[in-house]
C-alpha cells in the first residue's frame, strides 16, 4: 500500500502527539499521582506506536513500545515516578522528535537506534520491586499455555486479549454479565461464507456485544477466513441460549462456547499483557474499582477534535491574494462612476464593500493560529535549562489563546527562545545571590501575550538582576562604538539599544546557552522583518522586561497615501502618530540635522523627497505637511508634499531582485492599477 499520501498527516499528527506528551510529562513531574495525566500519556504513546508501526517506521514503534511498557508499569503502580524516570521519558521524546525530523527531511526514520534509551527503559522495568509477582504470573501462563495447546485444533480459538479487552470483560463480569468465547466452524461446503458469518453476527448482536473477533470482523465480512472464526462477546444471556440460537443457522458445523472468567489468561505471552492481567485482577478485588472503569471509558472515548480541515498554507495564500485583488477592484469601483451615480449603484458598492470587508476578516481569521502552538514547547525548555544551570525557575505563561497570522507564528519561535534563554541565563541570578538580595530563591519568568489594538504584544519578563545600564555604557565606550561624552548624555533607553547591536554581549562568561553576543541583534532583525518592534524595560536588581510588538496581520493593512513630488507612497497607519502642518521657519537646524518642536519635544525631520531621490521642482508653499511617525518611543517627522488619504492596501513583495532595498517595505496596487511603494518606517527613522 502506498503510504506516502498519509505521510503528511502522520507528520502533523505525530508533532501534535509529541507536543502533548511533552506537556503531560511536565504535568506528571509536578503531580506524580495524577492518574488522568498518566492515562493520557499512555493513550498518546499507544497511538504513536500504532501510527508509526502502520507507516512502517519500526524503530519509532520499538521505542514507543518500550516506553509504553514503562508507562504501563507506572500505571499499575509497579514503579514510582522519579526525576530519573521523567528524564528518561523526555529523552525518549527527544529521540522520537529526531526520528520525526528525519522523516520530515528524508521520509525515512534514519538509522539511529537509541539503544541506550531503550536499555534505560528496560532497566527501570527490571529494577521494579514487583519482580516476584511477575515471575509467578509467568509461571501461570506457562501452565495455562499447556491447557490451551490441547484445543489447538481450532487455531483461531487462541484469541489474544489485550488489556482493553480484558478490562471490558472484567467490567462485564462485575456487572453480572457473561463473557463468552465462541468458536464457530462452518460446513466445508458452505458457499457464501461471509453471508453466513453475517447472519451469525446478527444473531449474536441481538443478544450480546461483540468485543473482539479473530479474524477481524472486517476480514470476516470480506470472506478472508477459512472455515472457522472466534468471537468474544459479553451478554446477559448464558451460553445455552447462544448454543440454541446458533444451532438454528444452517451450515454451521461446530459450535464451541467457553465461559470466560475475569482471571483467565488467554494465551497471553508478552510482558505487557501479563501486567494488564495483574492490573485488572487487582481492580476487581480492589475496594474502589472506579479508577479502572474511568480508564476503560477514556480509552473508548475518541480524542477530542473539532471538525477541522488541514489546508496547505499556499492555498490560503492564493485565497488571500484573490481577496486582495477583490479589494483593489472595489476601491477602483468606488473611485469611478463620476458624479452621476445612481442610487442603486451606490448601494451596490456599499454592499460590495461590506462583503469584501467580511471576506477579508474571514480569510484573515483562517490564517490565525493561537500563539499556544509556539508557547507550548517553552515549559519543557525552561525545565531543561533550569536543570542545566542549576537555577530553580518557574515559567508562568498567559494569553496562549492570543492569535497571530500563521506566517508570524512560524517566525516568532526563535526570537522567543533567545529571549527566554537570556532571561534564564543572564536575568535570573543564582539562588544564593537571590537570597542575599532578599528575593525568593525561585526565579520567575513570565511569558505573556495579549492583543492591543491592531497589534499583538508578547512580553518576556523576569524578576532577575536587571540590566546594568552603566556597564553597558562602559562596554559601548570600550568597544569604541561611541565616544565618552556622548555616552554620558545618552538616555537609559539609548544605552540599552546597544544590546541589540551585533556581537555585543555583557555576559562575563560565555555559557552554552547565551553570552556569545549573537542573540539580541538576531531577535531584533527577525522581529523587524516581521514588521514588529522590540523594547526593553529594566530596573537594576528588580528584573527586566522585553516587549515584542507585532502586527496582527501582514497582508492587508490600513495606510496613509501621500504624494512626494509626482510619486505616491503609502505609510502604514499603525506607525503614524499624527499629521502636522507647520510653516517652513518652524524647522530648525541642530548639528546639521533638521528638527521641529512637537509639544515641547524635539523631533528630527526626514525629507522624503531627498531620501527617496524624488525629482521635483522646488516650490515655496506657506505650510509644510509633516507626518509624524513613531518607532517604539522614537518619533520622526516625514515631510511630504500632500496627503491623498487613508486606504486599505494589500502588501505585495517587490520580489527577490529588489529585496535588498531598505527604505521600501513592499508595494501595493492602487485603484487605478498603478503601483505605490510602501515605506519601511523602521529603517527610515
Amino acid at each position: 500500500m502506498d503510504m506516502s499520501q498519509y505521510l503528511e498527516i502522520f507528520i502533523e499528527e505525530t508533532k501534535e502527539h509529541l507536543q502533548s506528551l511533552n506537556q503531560c510529562l511536565l504535568q506528571l513531574e509536578q503531580n506524580p499521582n495524577e492518574t488522568g495525566v498518566l492515562n493520557e500519556i499512555f493513550r498518546v504513546a499507544h497511538t504513536l506506536k500504532g501510527m508509526s508501526a502502520t507507516m512502517g517506521y519500526s524503530k519509532m514503534a520499538k521505542l514507543t513500545h518500550d516506553m509504553e511498557n514503562v508507562l504501563h508499569a507506572l500505571r499499575s503502580n509497579e514503579i514510582k515516578v522519579s526525576t530519573k524516570l521523567i528524564d528518561i521519558l523526555f529523552k525518549c521524546l527527544d529521540a522520537l522528535e529526531t526520528y520525526l525530523n528525519s522523516i520530515i527531511n528524508t521520509s525515512g526514520e534514519g538509522n539511529k537506534e537509541y539503544t541506550e534509551i531503550i536499555e534505560a527503559l528496560n532497566n527501570i522495568l527490571k529494577n521494579n520491586p514487583v519482580d516476584e509477582i511477575e515471575k509467578k504470573e509467568k509461571q501461570q501462563i506457562e501452565n495455562k499455555s499447556e491447557v490451551i495447546a490441547v484445543d489447538s485444533v481450532h487455531h483461531t480459538a487462541n484469541l489474544q486479549l489485550d488489556q482493553y479487552d480484558q478490562n471490558v470483560i472484567n467490567k462485564a463480569i462485575e456487572m453480572g454479565m457473561n463473557a463468552l468465547k465462541i468458536t464457530l466452524v462452518l460446513n466445508k461446503g458452505c458457499v457464501l461464507k461471509s453471508a453466513r458469518a453475517f447472519i451469525i453476527f446478527q444473531t449474536l448482536e441481538r443478544y450480546s456485544e461483540i468485543i473482539k473477533a479473530d479474524p477481524k470482523v472486517e476480514d470476516i465480512e470480506d470472506e478472508k477466513f477459512d472455515y472457522e472464526f472466534t468471537v468474544l462477546i459479553v451478554s446477559k444471556e448464558n451460553s445455552d441460549l447462544f448454543l440454541k440460537e446458533l444451532n438454528q443457522i444452517a451450515e454451521v458445523e461446530e459450535i464451541i462456547i467457553k465461559q470466560l472468567q475475569s482471571k483467565t489468561i488467554e494465551g497471553a505471552e508478552a510482558k505487557t499483557e501479563v501486567k494488564a492481567q495483574e492490573n485488572s485482577t487487582k481492580s476487581i478485588s480492589d475496594v474502589s474499582p472506579v479508577e479502572e472503569k474511568d480508564q476503560t471509558a477514556s480509552t473508548v472515548k475518541k480524542p477530542k477534535t473539532g471538525k477541522t480541515v488541514r489546508v496547505d498554507i499556499d492555498r490560503l495564500d492564493i485565497l488571500m491574494n484573490l481577496v486582495g485583488e477583490l479589494i483593489i477592484t472595489k476601491t477602483r469601483l468606488e473611485g469611478s462612476g463620476g458624479t452621476d451615480r445612481s442610487q442603486t449603484y451606490t448601494e451596490a458598492i456599499e454592499y460590495l464593500e461590506r462583503i469584501t470587508t467580511n471576506l477579508n476578516d474571514a480569510v484573515m481569521k483562517v490564517r490565525m493560529v493561537p500563539v499556544e502552538t509556539v508557547f507550548n514547547r517553552f515549559p519543557r525548555m525552561i525545565r531543561d535549562i533550569s536543570k542545566d544551570i542549576g537555577k530553580e525557575i518557574v515559567l508562568t505563561m498567559s494569553g496562549e489563546e492570543t492569535e497571530l497570522d500563521r506566517t508570524v507564528i512560524d517566525e516568532i519561535g526563535d526570537p522567543l527562545i533567545h529571549l527566554l534563554r537570556n532571561a534564564a541565563d543572564h536575568g535570573i541570578e543564582p539562588a544564593d545571590k537571590r537570597k542575599a538580595s532578599g528575593k525568593s530563591e525561585i526565579g520567575h519568568i513570565y511569558l505573556r501575550a495579549y492583543q492591543s489594538g491592531n497589534n499583538v504584544l508578547i512580553e518576556v519578563e523576569e524578576d532577575g538582576q536587571g540590566i546594568n545600564v552603566e556597564s553597558v555604557r562602559k562596554k559601548a565606550i570600550e568597544r569604541g562604538l561611541i565616544n565618552k561624552e556622548i555616552a554620558h548624555n545618552l538616555s537609559q533607553k539609548d544605552v540599552i539599544d546597544f544590546l541589540f547591536r551585533p556581537s555585543f554581549s555583557t555576559a562575563e562568561k560565555i555559557t552554552d546557552l547565551s553570552g556569545r553576543g549573537v542573540g539580541l541583534d538576531v531577535v531584533k532583525t527577525k522581529i523587524e522583518a516581521l514588521g514588529g518592534t522590540v523594547e526593553v524595560e529594566t530596573e537594576l536588581g528588580k528584573g527586566s522586561r522585553f516587549i515584542i510588538k507585532l502586527p496582527l496581520t501582514l497582508a492587508i493593512i490600513q495606510a496613509l497615501l501621500v504624494n512626494v513630488g509626482e510619486e505616491k507612497y503609502a505609510i502604514p497607519l499603525s506607525s503614524i502618530q499624527s499629521i502636522e502642518k507647520i510653516s517652513p521657519d518652524e524647522i530648525k537646524l541642530v548639528q546639521k540635522q533638521e528638527v521641529m518642536l512637537l509639544r515641547k519635544s524635539v523631533v528630527p525631520i526626514v525629507r522624503l523627497d531627498k531620501i527617496l531621490d524624488v525629482k521635483k521642482e522646488e516650490k515655496q508653499s506657506k505650510l509644510t505637511t509633516v507626518v509624524i511617525v513613531k518607532k517604539g518611543e522614537r518619533l520622526s517627522g516625514f515631510v511630504v508634499d500632500s496627503l491623498i488619504g487613508q486606504q486599505e492596501i494589500v502588501i505585495k513583495s517587490l520580489g527577490k531582485l529588489l529585496s535588498s532595498i531598505k527604505s521600501i517595505a513592499g508595494a501595493t496596487i492602487l485603484g487605478d492599477g498603478n503601483v505605490a511603494l510602501i515605506l519601511d518606517v523602521n529603517s527610515l527613522i
Binding site: V614, G655, L657, I661, A667, V675, A676, L677
Partner: protein
C-alpha cells in the same frame, strides 16, 4: 518543406534594440506585454527602471538599453515588455520592438567563446545567422542575477 523542426532546433523570440537584433530562448519567456506605467523605485541599480503591476503581480522591469550602455530611446508604439522567468521569479525587460519567432538549428548558432574573453560577453549564448542577418542570442539567466 525544408524547414522541418527536429530536436536540434531551438526557438527564439527575436527583438530589437536600436538597429541590433537579439534573441531569447522561447522557453524562458512567459508573456510579451504592451508598455505599462512603470513606478520608479528608489535606491536601485540604474538598469532597473522600477516595477509594474501585471494582473495583480508586482514585477521589476529592467532596461536593456542601459544595461548594454545604449542611449535612451523614446517610447514608441512598438515598445514591449518581455516577461521572463528567472528562478521562478518573473522579471520584465523593455525592448524597442518584438520582431518574430525564429527557429534555429544548432549549426546556425555560432559559439562566441573563442572570440572574446570579455566578461560582458558572459551573457551572450552565441550568434545566430539567418541569411545575412546576425542575431545575438542572450543567456537570460546570466544577464539577470537575483
Amino acid at each position: 518543406m525544408e524547414e522541418i523542426i527536429n530536436e536540434k532546433t531551438k526557438q527564439f523570440i527575436v527583438f530589437k534594440l536600436g538597429k541590433e537584433e537579439y534573441g531569447i530562448d522561447i522557453q524562458k519567456i512567459t508573456t510579451i506585454e504592451q508598455m505599462k506605467t512603470i513606478t520608479r523605485v528608489p535606491k536601485i541599480p540604474v538598469f532597473i527602471k522600477g516595477v509594474i503591476n501585471l494582473r495583480g503581480e508586482i514585477i521589476p522591469i529592467m532596461d536593456l538599453r542601459s544595461k548594454f550602455n545604449l542611449p535612451e530611446a523614446e517610447e514608441t508604439e512598438d515598445t514591449r515588455i518581455i516577461i521572463v522567468n528567472i528562478e521562478e521569479e518573473p522579471v520584465g525587460i523593455i525592448v524597442d520592438a518584438v520582431a518574430e519567432v525564429l527557429s534555429l538549428t544548432e549549426e546556425a548558432i555560432e559559439n562566441l567563446n573563442n572570440l572574446s574573453t570579455d566578461l560582458s560577453m558572459e551573457f551572450i549564448l552565441g550568434v545566430g545567422k539567418v541569411d545575412d542577418r546576425i542575431i545575438t542570442l542572450l543567456n537570460i539567466e546570466k544577464l539577470i542575477t537575483l
